[in-house]
Amino acid sequence: MADKVLVAMSGGVDSSVSVKLLLDEGYDVAGATMRLYSNEDIGLDKTRTCCSLNDVEDARFVAFKLGIDFHVFNFSDDFKHYVIDNFVDTYLAGGTPNPCIECNKHLKFAKFYERAKLLGFDHIATGHYAAREFDEKSGRWLLKRSPDRSKDQSYVLYSMTQEQLAHTLFPVGEMHKDKIRDIAEENKLINANKPDSQDICFIPDGDYAGFITKRCGEQQSGDIVLSDGTKLGKHKGLIHYTIGQRKGVGISYSEPLFVITKDMEHNRLIMGKADEVYSDSLVAGDVNFIPFDTLTEPITCTAQTRYHQKDAECTVSPMNDGKVLVTFKEPHKAISKGQAVVFYDGEYVIGGGTIL
């Protein structure tokens, strides 16, 4: 009997085409969409966000077109707890959160995967651009970048466990977007021309500060200072700024200044010259490794501290208490607390963690 696969369908083109590809390969396929929030929950009445009601309907239609069963899982409580609250808290603590990673970790590869297991599915599948590979020698599953580097999503998948990797298929993971759109169009899937989803699905307009202000009220204004303490002006609440930001801070100085630290304790925005945005090292916690369970001795590899970024050579060393120290060969720009650092060996993901 064919293996049963439950595809996490977002209503978007990638997961829709995933269904089609799995059917062609002979799998017994069903689809499900996670209902993660209602538009009202996030203070919106507009659509075009990821897992909103409209997308559920789009996904349902794709499932209908392809003749597979379709389910809707309501995970909005978990989403609020693990993703939205975490997003707000991290921001208020001066960090730069990455909600996609939290969602993958706590929703897609946790709640959704568990639910699929309960329902008797052998695998889940997602529309991510990444590939997995079984390594006979070590007996472990490995995670690889997508060959289409511009679409590569391996960065947000670093926290996958061996069990999750063993049971997750990425049908479009090694394909190019154009090919995927062609397949969608050929099969008259509704969303062939639907735009790619934004980075943060629950803030479709991209106004993070506005989102947080709506939930937590206006933030207090405070001083903008140089790293030596020289006052430069007033900021309008620290949530409005990100590490490395140059434009839109509203100060003038003899040379370009960048946001280098958000001093939450004293409500100060600390600016520095170009060289001060760079640092040599970082500490990451909550780490996960893919080709091995724990890091026992330093390794050299490359790292990314943002979603789409060039590889930076570094050394990753184990610390006590499970954290790791990452030392960069060249000073690294705009390292932000709360973002993920992900380690690569060529095309392979070694692992990653949250920047502390």
Binding site: K46, L53, D58, R60, F61, F64, I190
Partner: protein, 401 residues
């Protein structure tokens, strides 16, 4: 000729097709689940609704997520117009353009909006019952939020230049809604080619049951919710779906839009024979343009006769017809459509609408042509009004011969 039943009121409603009925029946007693339910019985119903949604979308050249099921044409009209008014008001746009001879679902909604402070321009339709894109363009203002003009008139069957009107609207950034209740299934419609932003349709005019219809809303127009409650119809029109009727609508509309030109050719031949025969009645006239007209529509005025007496007499002979729209038969006013053509009250009162379709036969036409002239003659022979017309206009009173 033997008495027979002739249904010549297909603009009022149509017979549900056997195919649509057969498709719907299982959803009463076998597949009776709620489409929102999580189990298979519910999922089967959700699939059936989706299939119907796709069928309606295909019939209009729309996308499946642009189709909202409603309870019929009037609801769709109300939703589109009131919704656009609400959106327009937010931008300070409180002007609507329509025509003088819309269905009451449109006219009364516009009148209601006037009470709320909107301004409505009612375009005149001339003596032929047609508006032009130029008229629309001339009426568009900076604060116009919506143009709503019917595709085909329900009483006189005249077909408006929808594509051109839509083009003018888009040129000026104004939304365009059309009530296509009489048109869908009778003329080819493609919402993209015809520049339509919103379109109302009704199931029972095209061989689906009463109580189901749809509104097409182009992607990008975020109409306010019509009914608050559950998440049905993308959260915009709450209420458990009318699954059997929706299924029937999907099947019926698919058939209705098939081979329209061929169907129309046959219907038009019968219709033209009817018109030709009926115009032989002295002092009778055809209302509305002859060329831009639904293939099955006949609307004549017979002077000196009350429309109502004509209908009752026809019914005694087994012919189901109407004077004007069935929706207004409860009122004593003459048809606002005929008045909009500039007809005097007295003429408008004596009007008869026969609406035939491809279920009618040549024998039906023969029968009507046989029974109607004697009815008119009889009614006129007893009509003081006819006598006065003859006297004052020096017309030879043939009823006395």
């Amino acid at each position: 000729m033997e008495k027979r039943f002739v249904y010549a009121d297909n603009s009022a409603t149509t017979r549900v097709s056997q195919k649509a009925l057969d498709a719907a029946l299982p959803y009463f007693t076998e597949l009776y689940g709620n489409p929102s339910s999580i189990y298979s019985l519910g999922m089967e119903c959700a699939k059936a609704v989706l299939k119907a949604r796709e069928q309606v979308a295909n019939a209009l050249g729309a996308k499946v997520n642009e189709i909202y099921f409603t309870a019929g044409g009037s609801e769709s009209d109300n939703w589109a117009i009131r919704g656009c008014a609400q959106l327009g008001e937010k931008k300070g746009k409180k002007h609507i353009i329509t025509t003088a001879f819309e269905h009451h679902a449109v006219l009364h909604t516009c009148q209601y909006l006037e009470k709320l402070g909107f301004e409505v321009t009612y375009l005149p339709v001339g003596d032929k019952g047609l508006v032009t894109a130029q008229q629309v363009e001339d009426a568009i203002r900076d604060d116009t939020c919506l143009v709503t003009i019917m595709t085909a008139n329900n009483e006189i069957g005249t077909i408006q230049p929808i594509a051109e009107i839509g083009e003018v609207c888009h040129k000026h950034g104004v939304w365009f809604h059309t009530d296509a209740v009489q048109a869908v299934g009778n003329i080819d419609i493609n919402v993209k080619d015809m520049n339509i932003d919103m379109l109302s349709l009704s199931g029972h005019k095209l061989h689906a049951p009463k109580g189901v219809g749809a509104l097409y809303v182009k992607t990008g127009i975020n109409l306010p919710n019509l009914i608050y409650g559950g998440a049905q119809e993308r959260n915009k029109r709450a209420g458990t779906e009318n699954v059997p009727s929706i299924v029937a609508l999907g099947v019926a509309i698919t058939d209705a839009v098939k081979d329209i030109p061929a169907k129309n050719e046959r219907v038009r031949k019968m219709r033209d024979r009817l018109i030709e025969g009926l115009l032989k009645i002295p002092e009778s006239r055809l209302n509305g343009d002859t060329e831009h007209r639904l293939a099955g529509n006949v609307n004549i005025s017979v002077r000196g006769v009350e429309g109502e007496s004509l209908l009752l007499s026809l019914d005694l002979q087994g012919v189901a017809a109407s004077s004007g729209s069935a929706c207004t038969s409860g009122s004593l006013d003459p048809s606002h459509v005929l008045l909009s053509l500039g007809l005097p009250h007295e003429v408008a009162h004596g009007s008869l609408r026969l609406s035939i379709n491809d279920e009618n036969t040549e024998e039906d036409v023969d029968y009507i042509l046989e029974v109607l002239p004697p009815i008119v003659k009889h009614l006129r022979s007893m009509s003081p009004l006819w006598e006065r017309i003859c006297r004052t206009e020096n017309i030879h009173d043939y009823t006395l011969d």
